[in-house]
């Protein structure tokens, strides 16, 4: 029985271009307080465009209705649990939005004089220090715009250090359970990728590692807890093996929500890592971004951090642009400052004890779900779970129902699906991360839904394969979308 949702009216809405009428407008500009200028004269007639063909022409109320109506077609954290593994979809406190809109911060120009930017710089300094403390690292750059961007920065740092030591080396080792951004990043940084098979328990296989770590290897990129939600118990040993050969340990910090206040990467041998502020530190995903991917490093890597670096001398903060060993810039200006403000607000609101409590709740929630669902779904790796748990669809696949189908059926039950088919080392993965946000009520209702679907699969697998049924849009044909790409509207 579906208890979490009911169907209700949902307004249809055409594309903006289809509902435009000539001459409609939703804006009014102040009257010009200077003489108007003839554009052809000022810019050269050849440089002045015709009208922007097809551009929207709607009234203000049509605009607000357009976006309001569309918004209601989305699922969101504000609607309910969003158990996407690896994504850490936690509540996005609204106070963070207020903080980010504080006028003197939101309207600060990156080139305004440093003397008039001390407040912005102090926000950055405070956040750098807090993240360094949380990670147990020595220095932090806030410049990267997202996790993958942080990875690139981190790998470039390793390359720069090794280069300075005489040889940048050729390869990055990456477990087969890793997120796709890891290998993609290595490639952009000019490294070959060597995959390393996970051990039987899903972790780094120490034997394999010892074999693979040669003088050619620049680093291992490890996610910890890994994408099975399992802590790499050998992590200290892993670091030793790498360090012995002059290679570095990079940690993908996407799963830091399992560790904050409990364990610090800097304390277990990590040389460099990134954080996803849009995961662990609650900044909103906004339908895909923006995020921020600060990189934290050990002292040895500090000289290579991107320019500029924030420096305090006495009461004044300043940017240091003269850093001869720096890998250079990875982004214009200083980072996604507005996201940094939100993350700092989150850290301030929680404080040290609050952050640790959040971690414990996140892990408790995941383990609670694991216990409840283990009787119904196959658990290929049984090591203790941290903040997420990964099941396999093996049992259901026998009846022809795959993880993707279960996910779609979960939609009918009023939930956003878990992460589907990742990590790749699990056959038909169901990757579930509740985060600390969810209370028992919501989690129990999720568990009920999952069990109910497991039973439906036994009695009516075909029905499940056709889900979702209760959405305004039924199952979407992604194959045709890719086969005949239509990537923009055109007049009929």
């Amino acid at each position: 029985m579906i208890k979490k949702v009911t169907t209700h009216l949902s307004q249809n809405e055409a594309l903006l271009f289809e509902r435009s009428s000539p001459g409609k407008k939703a804006y009014q500009l102040p009257e010009l307080d200077v003489p108007a200028v003839d554009a052809s004269e000022a810019l050269g007639a050849e440089n002045v465009r015709q009208e922007i063909e097809g551009f929207p022409e709607v009234s203000e109320v049509e605009a607000i209705r357009h976006f309001t109506r569309l918004s209601t077609w989305n699922y969101a954290i504000d609607y309910g649990m969003y158990p996407l593994g690896s994504c850490t979809m936690k509540y996005n406190p609204r106070i963070n939005e207020v903080a980010a809109r504080t006028e003197g911060l939101a309207w600060a120009h990156p080139y305004q004089p440093e003397a008039l930017s001390q407040g912005c710089m102090e926000v950055m300094e405070t956040l750098e220090a807090a993240l360094a403390e949380i990670c147990g690292m020595d220095a932090v750059t806030l410049q990267p715009a997202a996790g993958a961007h942080g990875e690139l920065t981190g790998i470039l740092l390793i390359r720069a250090l090794l280069q300075k030591r005489g040889n940048p080396r050729k390869k990055i080792l990456i477990p087969d359970s890793a997120h796709g951004t890891n290998p993609a990043t290595a490639a952009i940084a000019g490294y070959a990728v060597e995959n390393i098979k996970s051990s039987e328990t899903g972790g780094v296989d120490l034997g394999a590692l010892e074999q693979l770590v040669t003088e050619d290897v620049a680093a291992l990129m490890v996610t910890n807890p890994n994408t099975l939600g399992v802590f790499e118990n050998n992590i200290v040993r892993v670091a030793e093996i790498l360090h012995k050969k002059g290679a570095m340990l990079y940690m993908d910090g996407a799963n830091m929500n399992a560790l904050v206040g409990i364990a610090r990467p800097g304390d277990f041998g990590v040389d460099v890592m990134h954080l996803n502020l849009h995961k662990t530190f609650s900044t909103p995903h906004g339908g895909g971004g923006p995020g921020a991917g600060p990189v934290a490093v050990k002292k040895v890597l500090e000289p290579f951090l991107p320019t500029p670096r924030l420096r305090r001398s006495g009461k004044k903060l300043a940017f240091d642009y003269k850093r001869k060993h720096s890998v250079g810039r990875v982004k214009a200006y200083y980072g996604n400052f507005g996201v940094l403000v939100r993350a700092l607000a989150y850290i301030l609101a929680h404080g040290g004890p609050g952050l640790k409590n959040a971690t414990m709740d996140a892990v408790l929630n995941a383990i609670y779900i694991r216990k409840a669902l283990e009787p119904y779904f196959d658990l290929p790796y049984t090591s203790p779970s941290m903040h997420e748990v990964v099941f396999s669809d093996d049992r259901q696949a026998k009846l022809g129902v795959r993880t993707g189908d279960i996910a779609k059926r979960l939609i009918d039950y009023g939930f956003h699906p878990y992460t589907v088919s990742f990590p790749m080392i699990v056959h038909g993965a169901l990757m579930i991360e509740p985060t600390e946000t969810e209370g028992k009520l919501e989690i129990d209702s999720f568990i009920d839904a999952m069990i109910s679907i497991a039973k439906e699969i036994e009695t009516d697998p075909q029905m499940v394969k056709g889900a979702p049924y209760n959405t305004r849009t039924s199952r979407v044909d992604e194959t045709t979308a890719a086969r005949k790409p239509v990537l923009r509207w055109k007049p009929a």
Binding site: L15, L43, F67, E103, E133, G289, K371
Partner: protein, 424 residues
């Protein structure tokens, strides 16, 4: 719940971690504070910034009015707190707006396809260069000196280890325009990408057609960069480009000390499969109704891994949505009128000062600060609560006596008059 998990305290959940890795002390961070204190904390920091100053800074980040609708829309939890729209059936809201965004970017730029966003303009440039290199199979990149200096720095960082040598070509010291002869001179058969910006960093409208002709003649692709998206309300779209890489900060995004903004990559149909980042496509659902979904993901890291077109995953979706709302509010007529106001303001200011270059400009231009150095002038202006132009010596030693001034629809005539007095 502890019971169900077989533990009596949450700490027990972590006992399986090796003792050595566990932090056996509290984090050295203050205890949590209340909402009220958080508000106050950031207000205090903001008071330590530039509230109440008039500003003539542009240089890639522009002070435009943000229509109220923008915040109204992006504050809706349905947009703010949703994830990347992988589950199309409950993400049609986001997907539809991205499809509209892609369409509007195409309409603006004259391209056939646009992606769902890049981190910003600066990172869009190396992504575009990498695209061009993949498409042409030629690794060398030629970039104009008049492209935003920080964008060029980012390009250098990305290019360094990918076997992508980057060379720069100059500008004409009188006009501030591209030095096409220098470009022609430096072109060779190994060059896969020529990168220019219009309006360029000096605010000057570039000769896209001529640059395209040279690039194409040598088998390279032309990448056109823009930092001032509002200019597209009035300027001929860079339809001769092969790739357009731009920054949308001008579309309702607050300067926010440098980010988050949103970059875009747009291109011609034939390069679709080289595009980095997410793309939304139209399709149907099982009932035959129109629907949208993320598509062509075989380009992306989560499928293609080290062979992906880019490592980008999280992009700037919400910022792109803000730009979408902005474009909707201003629309066909408004974006032009807005651009005209910018043009008028900047030309009013130019009339009171002496632009250094003779090239046509949109809402920015370079002035020499005759006699006094730009820093000295700016100091005098600060006393009048005016933030002057960007001193150019930092990026262009040959322009150490000059600053870049910007005027937008927000710039008040009285402030321009006061600025001109000090500059005179």
């Amino acid at each position: 719940m502890l019971d169900a998990c077989g533990v009596s305290t949450p700490e027990e959940l972590f006992t399986h971690l090796p003792e050595a890795v566990r932090l056996n002390r509290p984090l050295n961070l203050a205890p949590g504070i209340s909402e009220y204190e958080i508000v106050q904390y950031f207000r205090d920091r903001a008071d330590n910034c530039a509230n109440g100053y008039a500003s003539f800074l542009g240089a890639g980040v522009y002070n435009h009015f943000r229509p109220v609708l923008v915040d109204t829309v992006v504050s809706r939890g349905e947009f703010l707190t949703s994830y990347t729209p992988y589950q199309a059936e409950i993400a049609q809201g986001t997907l539809t707006t991205i499809f509209e965004f892609q369409t509007m970017i195409c309409q603006l730029t004259g391209m056939d396809v646009a992606n769902a966003s890049m981190y910003d303009g600066s990172t869009a440039v190396p992504e575009a260069a990498m695209m061009a290199v993949r498409a042409t199979g030629k690794g060398r990149v030629l970039v104009a000196k008049s492209v935003h200096p920080e964008y060029r720095e980012v390009l250098a960082t990305y290019a360094r280890h990918q076997g992508m040598p980057v060379a720069e070509f100059g500008y004409v010291s009188e006009t501030g325009n591209l030095d096409l002869e220098d470009l022609e001179r430096q072109m060779d058969g190994l060059t896969g990408a020529v990168i220019i910006q219009t309006p360029n960093f000096f605010g000057i409208v570039e000769q896209v057609k001529a640059a395209a002709e040279i690039a194409h003649r040598h088998g390279a692709l032309l990448v056109v960069v823009f930092t001032e998206a509002v200019s597209l309300g009035l300027l001929e779209p860079p339809a001769d480009a092969d790739i357009v890489a731009g920054e949308l900060q001008s579309f309702a995004i607050s300067p926010s000390y440098g980010g988050p903004y949103a970059g875009i990559i747009a291109t011609k149909e034939k390069y679709i499969r080289q595009v980095p980042g997410r793309l939304v496509g139209q399709t149907t659902d099982s009932r035959g109704n129109r629907a949208f979904c993320l598509t062509l993901s075989t380009r992306e890291q989560h499928i293609r891994r080290e062979k992906a077109t880019s490592n980008i995953c999280t992009n700037q979706a919400l910022i792109a949505l803000m730009a979408t709302v902005f474009m909707t509010v201003y629309g066909k007529q408004g974006l032009r009128e807005l651009a005209e106001q910018n043009l008028a303001k900047a030309h009013y200011l130019a009339g009171k000062t002496k632009p250094r270059f003779t090239g046509k400009f949109f809402n920015e231009f370079v002035v020499r600060t005759e006699g006094k150095s730009p820093d000295v002038v700016n100091k005098a202006l600060l006393k009048k609560k005016i933030i002057g132009g960007l001193p150019l010596g930092r990026f262009y030693p040959e322009l150490a006596d000059s600053m870049l001034l910007c005027a937008t629809e927000m710039t008040k005539r009285a402030d321009m008059d006061r600025l001109a007095e000090v500059l005179a």
